[in-house]
């Protein structure tokens, strides 16, 4: 390995090294605060190490890894999101669990897995990253052992993830067996000069789609989402909603590009049906959901559907749209969970809509933050979510996929209902029957983090061109 190789893997090394040292720290001196600050430091260092890589691009470490602008951008996004999640985690775990320190360990490992995913160009690194992510998540989701829902969610995730990983492996085996290659460009090259695509390879792609689809939470592999989001600790749910999905989406995009997936119209049609189904199922299920965690789970199913529309549009604008939407969606989701975190007390999560009744009149700033998050999810102007949705519609119009766009519009309208329902609940003024509200923790770190996220969302919503320029530059280098 040359020095350049090591440098280009900077973020990954930081996180992995951090995980090892954190483990040692926990062994030597078990102290929540110490591990917390150390983890923060690791994430900040990893974020900083993204910068020097920029001049090395693109850098291929054959055959497993490619570090191009797309990978670097997403690495930055992942590490940044991880940082926000860690900032929100301290107070949440402080009160709840006796052995809190291992959480940070697992989080670091999961982040490392996601980072491996975004740089992978080979089945081995894909599987490695995916499993690292999944196995860490098994532990993370079930972390609050005392809570019944946590165990249940962990077991469900374990079984379903193992099932879909098996499908993924079988698919990869079929593809390897009939193309002789495991690296994405190799597969693409083989298929190009092979003329007709052998059936087992197509079947392999389909099977791989199952594994990927589970992680993304798209129909019909979406059923785990509400139970997991409800049972997992809130920061972990935020992680699952964003980083886990984002990492897999990036590798899917890369695979599709290298294999020239757009020529397989059948795959395109399957993805299109999945996208439309995800949008409808996600939005329909969320309509009357009173538990906010479950509602956010259903909403993320729908949002993956929207993202798939941009993916299906293909072209330059489609990829740019996905990148921007991820940049908008990550802070929004984490922010939404962040609101739940700051509103939770030490014994109970603030998860039902009733907990937010009249929130604006009790804690106006938190309510405003939540309103901004919800409006961003709904795609109302002045927020980053609107620009993201606009970008997706633009990409779809560019590709003339008017039916898909019509479905997107209809679903946006359906989606409005449940987002606005929560906003309405927060602004409700009718006197409630005598009810004691959860006394929210409102930790300082959490509040500041939320404030910054809100500023980011509104800033991106009002002045997105700087980010767009970055994305457009990045996209020209993806190939």
């Amino acid at each position: 390995m040359t020095f350049d190789d090591l440098l280009s893997l900077g973020p990954l090394f930081n996180i992995c090294g951090g995980a090892v040292i954190a483990m040692l720290l926990v062994a030597i001196w078990r102290n929540h605060r110490l591990v917390y600050y150390f983890t923060l430091l690791v994430y900040i260092l990893a974020l900083a190490s993204v910068v020097p890589v920029a001049k090395l691009l693109p850098h291929i470490i054959a055959p497993l890894v490619v570090v191009d602008m797309f990978a670097l951008f997403n690495s930055g996004a992942i590490v940044g999101s991880g940082l926000i999640i860690v900032l929100l985690s301290y107070n949440y775990f402080e009160e709840r669990e006796e052995r809190k320190e291992e959480y940070y360990l697992l989080l670091l490992l999961a982040t490392a897995g996601a980072l491996v995913l975004v740089i992978s160009r080979h089945f081995m690194s894909l599987f490695l990253g995916l499993e690292m992510l999944s196995i860490s998540l098994y532990g993370l989701i079930a972390y609050l052992r005392a809570r019944q829902r946590s165990d249940e969610a962990g077991i469900k995730y374990l079984i379903l993830a193992a099932l879909s990983s098996a499908f993924l492996l079988f698919g990869m085996a079929l593809v390897y067996g009939f193309t002789g290659h495991m690296d994405f460009p190799g597969i693409g090259a083989y298929l190009q000069q092979a003329g007709s695509v052998p059936l087992p390879v197509v079947a392999g792609f389909g099977l791989m789609l199952i594994g990927i689809g589970f992680k993304l939470g798209i129909v019909p592999f979406h059923m785990w989402a509400p139970d997991i989001y409800e049972g997992a600790p809130l920061p972990v749910a935020a992680f699952v909603a964003t980083i886990s999905k984002g990492g897999v989406l990036v590798v899917l995009i890369r695979f599709f590009q290298d294999v020239n997936g757009t020529q397989y119209t059948m795959l395109w049609w399957i993805l299109a049906i999945t996208a439309v189904a995800s949008m409808f199922v996600g939005n329909w299920l969320a309509l009357t959901q009173q538990n906010i965690k479950r509602m956010l789970a259903y909403s993320s199913i729908a949002h993956l559907g929207y993202l798939l529309v941009a993916f299906l549009a293909g072209k330059q604008s489609g990829l740019e749209a996905i990148a921007f939407y991820l940049v908008a969606y990550f802070p929004t989701s984490i922010g939404a969970f962040g609101v739940l975190i700051v509103m939770s007390s030490s014994v109970q999560d603030a998860e039902t809509a009733e907990d937010y009744r009249g929130l604006f009149w009790r804690y106006p700033w938190v309510a405003l933050a939540f309103t901004v998050m919800l409006l961003s999810l709904a795609g109302i102007p002045l927020t980053a979510g609107f620009i993201g949705k606009f970008y997706i519609v633009l990409a779809g119009a560019d590709g003339n996929h008017w039916f898909l766009l019509l479905m997107l519009v209809i679903n946006s309208v359906i989606g409005l209902y449940y987002y606005i329902r929560i906003v309405a609940m927060m602004f409700r003024t009718t006197e409630t029957p005598q009810r004691t509200f959860i006394k929210p923790a409102l930790p300082l770190a959490g509040n500041i983090t939320l404030g910054l996220v809100v500023l980011l969302l509104v800033g991106l919503g009002v002045y997105p061109s700087a980010m767009m320029q970055l994305i457009q530059q990045m996209m020209t280098l993806i190939r």
């Binding site: 102007p381 002045l382 119009a397 309208v413 409005l416 309405a424 003024t429 767009m468």
Partner: protein
């Protein structure tokens, strides 16, 4: 730059007002009022400045925003938008006055939302960039949602939802159409832009232009509202607080009409002509259906809400008649309807403050007790039914004359609408003020604040009815811009009977 200030002043007013409200609610109200009056002074000043000159665009301002997409902050003002802005700030200031006593709870946030809605409306009237237009279109929604949902009456949440979802659905379809136009233009010229002026005269296939036109039209037709997309309106108008109803009826509905005049007709002239018979039919349906339903309502505000549907049917009818006279009538109707319906809602609010009900069955025989209020109501009821001498008559007359050129049978039906208007208008007077009652009302008549609110409206509606020339003259400049926009479209020019509309026909002169 002045256009930017016109939009910024209410925003700053909104923030200041909210901040100050923690200390003093009265100061917050004054700040809100002051910012709107300031803007009113500015736009009136611009109007008076114009005098005879000013063909075409009065002001034009542009700044880059998202250059990757060809989106700029582009604002421009012509006669049409100037007239609409004067109406906006006039009614806006009055709506602050009307909520002076009515809104006590969280007044700061209320005024914040109120001013933000006005900002959105002003932005809609000024913007020349399609993305920015959609942006402001949406910006109008959320504060209005809060206004209805928080300070409204019993079914306010249902009404707020309905309003929001209807308008958003229309808006999203318009977004699709905007993007369609964007890409068609890019395919033809290679330039990616959302600029209104660049997008005019985009050559495109007939069928495509029809679809795009429909996309735009759906959003405006929901806002207008045209039957059968009108069902959000009765609930929203009834349940909103008085200021909310005034702004809804007086201004928000006009944004739909404005959108048709500014965007649908110039951008897709051929497609609009193809669709014109249907649009006019919808207009007439609105006039008759809305009018009949207005008569049937047991709730005062709901009755007035349905009259809005009916009056805006005239707008739709006139807009698609494609001649100068009808166009003048349409804009006059926008202004006078805003004033007369706004006034009626204010009176409903003023009455509600006294008797705490909107049910017509519980009113009656109020004239002896409230003669001043009765008189003012009578004036606006007469305006609503189209009595000559008041502004609405001019508007409806011009529209009918214009649409007669275009489509005779529909005009006949629309004229029947005038009879229907009389039916519902007189019902208001009959049920509220006349008739017998056993109840002893001990109610105060209009106080100073209420007179300050209502007197200007009375004066304006009479002035417009008697001397509409300044407004019509200001519209000349807009006609120039819209004709230029329509390009080579052959417009069915009305014979020059505008001479008959000159003030001398209506001023009360003994020897006429």
């Amino acid at each position: 730059m002045i256009l930017l200030y016109i939009i910024l002043i209410p925003v700053i007013g909104a923030l200041l007002s909210w901040l100050v409200s923690a200390r003093s609610v009265t100061l917050c109200r004054w700040i809100a009022l002051a910012s709107l009056l300031l803007d009113l002074v500015i736009v009136t000043g611009i109007w008076l400045d114009q005098g005879d000159g000013g063909k075409g665009w009065l002001y034009n301002w542009q700044a880059p925003w998202i250059p990757q997409f060809g989106i700029t902050l582009h604002l421009a003002m012509d006669g049409l938008s100037l007239v609409m802005l004067v109406l906006t700030f006039f009614l806006g200031a009055l709506s602050v006055l009307v909520s002076w006593n009515e809104i006590r709870w969280r007044a700061g946030f209320f005024h914040f939302n109120l001013l933000f809605v006005i900002t959105g409306i002003a932005g809609v009237f000024l913007t020349m960039d399609l993305f920015l237009f959609y942006f402001f279109w949406e910006v109008m929604l959320i504060p209005m949602y809060f206004l209805i949902g928080i300070w409204g009456h019993e079914r306010r949440e249902y009404a707020a939802y309905k309003f929001f979802i209807f308008t958003q659905a229309g808006g999203l379809l318009m977004l699709l159409a905007i993007l369609g136009l964007y890409f068609v233009h890019a395919a033809n010229t290679g330039v990616y832009t959302f600029n209104y002026f660049d997008l005019l005269h985009t050559p495109m296939a007939r069928s495509l232009s029809q679809w795009l036109m429909l996309g735009f039209l759906i959003a405006f037709v929901v806002k207008l509202p045209a039957v059968p997309f009108h069902t959000w309106l009765p609930d929203a108008h009834t349940e909103a607080p008085t200021a909310g109803s005034v702004i809804l009826a007086g201004l928000l509905l006009k944004t739909g009409a404005y959108g048709i005049l500014r965007f649908v007709l110039p951008l897709f002239p051929a497609a609009a002509q193809d669709f014109a018979p249907w649009a006019m039919l919808l207009g007439v349906a609105g006039i008759l259906y809305g009018g009949q339903l207005a008569y049937a309502q047991p709730d005062f505000k709901r009755l007035v809400a349905y009259t809005s549907v009916s009056h805006m049917g005239f707008v739709l009818l006139g807009a698609f008649a494609f001649n100068e006279v009808a166009y003048q009538g349409v804009v006059m109707q926008m202004i006078t309807h805003g004033i007369s319906t706004g006034a009626l809602f204010m009176l409903a609010g003023v009455l509600y403050e006294r008797i705490h009900t909107r049910e017509l069955s519980r009113m009656g025989g109020l004239w002896p007790v409230l003669p001043a209020m009765g008189t003012v109501t009578m004036i606006f009821v007469m305006a609503s039914l189209g009595l000559p001498g008041l502004g609405n008559f001019i508007a409806e007359f011009l529209i009918l004359v214009g649409s007669w050129q275009a489509n005779r049978p529909l005009t006949v039906l629309a004229a029947i609408g005038l009879v229907i208007a009389t039916i519902y208008s007189l019902r208001i007077m009959q049920k509220v003020f006349f008739g017998q009652t056993e109840r002893q009302f001990g109610l105060p008549d209009l106080n100073t604040r209420e007179w300050v609110m209502l007197a200007p409206l009375v004066l304006v509606i009479i002035w417009l009815g008697v001397y509409p020339k300044p407004v019509l003259k200001m519209l000349n400049t807009a006609r120039g811009t819209l004709n230029a926009a329509r390009g080579t479209l052959h417009v069915a020019e009305a014979p020059d009977n505008t001479k008959r509309m000159q003030p001398s026909a209506f001023s009360v002169e003994p020897n006429q």
